[in-house]
Amino acid sequence: MESRTNFISSIIEKMPNIIILRNFSENYGNILGRIKVLHLEVELEFDVEIQPQYPLQMHETESIRFLNSELITYNHVNRDGSICIHTTHSPDIKQKIEWDFNSLMEWIEKYYLSNSEDNNYEHIVVSEYQDEVLSCYLFTDVKHSFQKHSFGNFFYSLLAVGYEGKKEKQTYLIHDFLVGKVPYECNWSSLYKQQRNFLQGIYVYIEVPPVKHKRFAVESWSELEPFVSQEFLKFLYDIDKKGAYKKAGIKKLPLFIGYKIPTGEIHWQCAIIDTDNFPNEPLRLENGFGGQFRDIPINWSSTKNCSYKYFFGRGKFSEKITEKKILLIGIGAVGSMVATTLTRGGCKFLSLVDYEVKEPENVCRSEYDFNTGINNKVIDLGLKLTKISPFVEIIPDVIMMDAIKYFINNGKSEEAIKKHIEEFDIIIDCTTDDDVAFILDFLNLKNEIISLSITNNAKELLCSVKPNLYEWLNNRNNLNLKNDGAFYEPTGCWSPTFKASYNDISVLVQFALKHINLSIESGKPLRHFFLSAETENEFNIKLHQY
């Protein structure tokens, strides 16, 4: 049987415009060779490396590599000189080789000959230092316009410890930048802003990316030197001299290096300073003393722009919802699903109202977790929501509806109640309490109001809105609902409940929220509607709008 090496070699040999300069041979599973490509009057040589997975991909990258380190200044070339190509999947080696070589030709045309620039900005290439413990720093927008060469301290805290492969990975959150003596807060939600145990790092804003060959981060401190000012080097020298970090037992000091990217935003890279071995040293200049960086490697750590725009970049609800103050009353199965969906959809302000506590039997069909035990629902879910999004403000409220019911009939409190509720833009009532629907209607509120509930076995989801919110719900017997009277009554239970699984409920809740989002986004008025889940033949959801 023909060897894999010979088979691949014979395919490449027969390709037009390819000359094999060094025959293909196997080396620890890889097949290596060297070729010359003759394309559009250009001759370029490449080392070719074909990995054992070929023609399959490895971690979404091609397992064939074309390398020429002299091409590093061209776009879509990695630091090791390999050309960045992506082709379609094929399990057929011959087919795949053909496509991969065609892709190489396309690169030559587009990026070597035409020197094309892509519209989409890609971050500079930073080789993360493979320390024993890895770290990543998450930053977000800060309301300050940094001046070139400005520097100072920033504050950060440990968010979580996880693993990347077998290595521990520590994730840090950036909180404030100190400009002079003024702290500028990063735009996280207040829960994150209130975090304590801050650590201190230093930053310098250099305005342009610290790169060589257009997009590769500089690798040594001396290469960084042209990007910084003498004032910053003196600042660094003073820190080293005082030795405060060292005395505090801090071995690694993060240096945030900021620059502007084409979108106008600031991006930060993080170089780790070893406090036992600062990368700078004093220098005698003609007119006094100065400083310089030593020629030692920079240990880059990873950073991520975690601002709202990127956090929800892949998809979110309409701004007509996310920017609104939302009052969510009732956070059982339906309400908790609404809450998590709104939070994952980018909502920024949610007030949760519910007097109940979460119990273990709630968990299977709601968004609650088992491991937080018995807890007020508003606290339990509130914490979960802030774990999902660092941009959502949660106000938990156990008593609001009880208080409203208590005072609504005294003839004096109506206006005060109304004023309080009208501080919100959207009210979502998932209590299934007809009293609540009645009150919300009776108060003649200016807010958008949405009342969501389901019927037994999640046969239907009802959505009632203004005007006539209460009346429509009250006339639900006219809707021809499938009223299945059999409830779930576990042993020892005092109050039987409806039957339905997480899946039964969430599929309707998601449908309803999708419909509501589309209506609001398009500027159409919300209407009463109900969804009916057809399960008899094949599963189907039907929307009935009023």
Binding site: A333, T455, N478, L481, N483
Partner: protein
């Protein structure tokens, strides 16, 4: 299953204005009082005030009597250089002085002055709108019935830059009244049903718009069959044509009444009709959601009474809902 035709008949029956005879008489009495007060105050500067509104057009329902009193002033009633605004303010101040804070609340509205009398011992509230208008030229009203109305800018204008509506109110009334009377089983019934719907669901749509588009529907498409068939035909017409239909004011064809709704409002109205038809065709019980019986006046007919019975006897609890 609801018998749609019987139910709709019951809706119409329960909304007859004669069901509210006492309240109707109170409206007539108050209207006459206002009319006399205006005649005394403005003497020969005022032609004879007349009824406009739904009651005059024979299309009223008893939820909202829609009693309008048109007050036609002579061209120089407020001086030869007097403006429409001065006319409006003068009438407003007069009525405010006479009624406001004493027995009613008087407020300025878009083209009228609203007088809402305080609730009486029966709990009745009488509401009458006075619409001041002025003839176009000296003595011309007798010949052409045309009047200029003042448009109160704070409520928006019909046309950008215009501050008055020129119309022949009598022609508006006659046109609708004549057809509503002649075609009482079709046009009149459908207008009244749509008014019942509008009062409950879309109070901002003008009755005048409903009247004109219903007549337009009957003129444009064949609407026969039973009451539901006719209603459905009109609903379909509005659904399909409201975005493009022209509804010239019978009192002045240059006034486009269709423009009283924005494009978005027309689109919403089209959707209202679409979903109403879908829901009623899907489940005839849904007709009760859209067209309410006035439960103060349930049907007299025993067969029909089941649709309008007051809440007595055994009631079925609503389907439980959960969250």
């Amino acid at each position: 299953m609801t018998d749609k035709n019987k139910y709709l008949d019951c809706v119409l029956g329960s909304h007859k204005i004669t069901n509210e005879r006492v309240l109707l008489d109170k409206h007539i009495s108050k209207r006459n009082e206002i009319k006399e007060a205006l005649e005394i105050k403005y003497e020969s500067n005022l032609y004879s005030p007349f009824n406009s509104g739904s009651y005059a057009k024979n299309t009223a329902v008893n939820l909202k009597f829609d009693f309008d009193l048109m007050a036609p002033y002579k061209r120089n009633a407020f001086g030869s250089n007097g403006t429409l605004k001065e006319m409006f303010i003068d009438v407003f101040e007069f009525l405010k002085d006479k009624y406001h804070g004493k027995e009613a609340t008087v407020r300025d509205q878009k083209v009228s002055i609203g007088i809402e009398f305080y609730s009486d011992k029966d709990g009745h509230i009488v509401k009458i709108d006075v619409v001041p208008g002025r003839e176009l030229n000296v003595n011309q009203y007798k010949d052409d019935d045309k009047l200029n109305l003042y448009v109160n800018k704070k409520f928006g204008t019909l046309e950008e830059g215009s501050d008055y509506i020129r119309s022949n109110i009598q022609a508006q009334i006659d046109k609708i009244k004549d057809r509503a009377t002649a075609e009482k089983d079709s046009i009149r019934k459908i207008i009244r049903l749509l008014k019942v719907w509008k009062i409950n669901k879309k109070p901002d749509i003008k009755s005048f718009f409903i009247e004109l588009i219903t007549m337009k529907a009957f003129d444009s498409v064949k609407a026969d069959g039973d009451l539901w068939d006719k209603l459905k035909t009109v609903l379909e017409f509005i659904r399909d044509k409201v975005k493009e239909v022209s509804l010239p004011d019978p009192g002045n064809s240059t006034n486009e009444v269709a423009d009283t709704l924005t494009e978005t409002e027309k689109s919403t109205l089209s959707d209202d009709m679409k979903y109403m038809i879908e829901r009623i065709e899907e489940n005839s019980d849904n007709i009760k959601t859209y067209f309410k019986i006035n439960e103060d006046h349930p049907c007299e007919n025993k067969e029909e009474n089941k649709y309008g019975v007051k809440r007595e006897g055994v009631s079925v609890p609503p389907t439980p809902r959960f969250g």
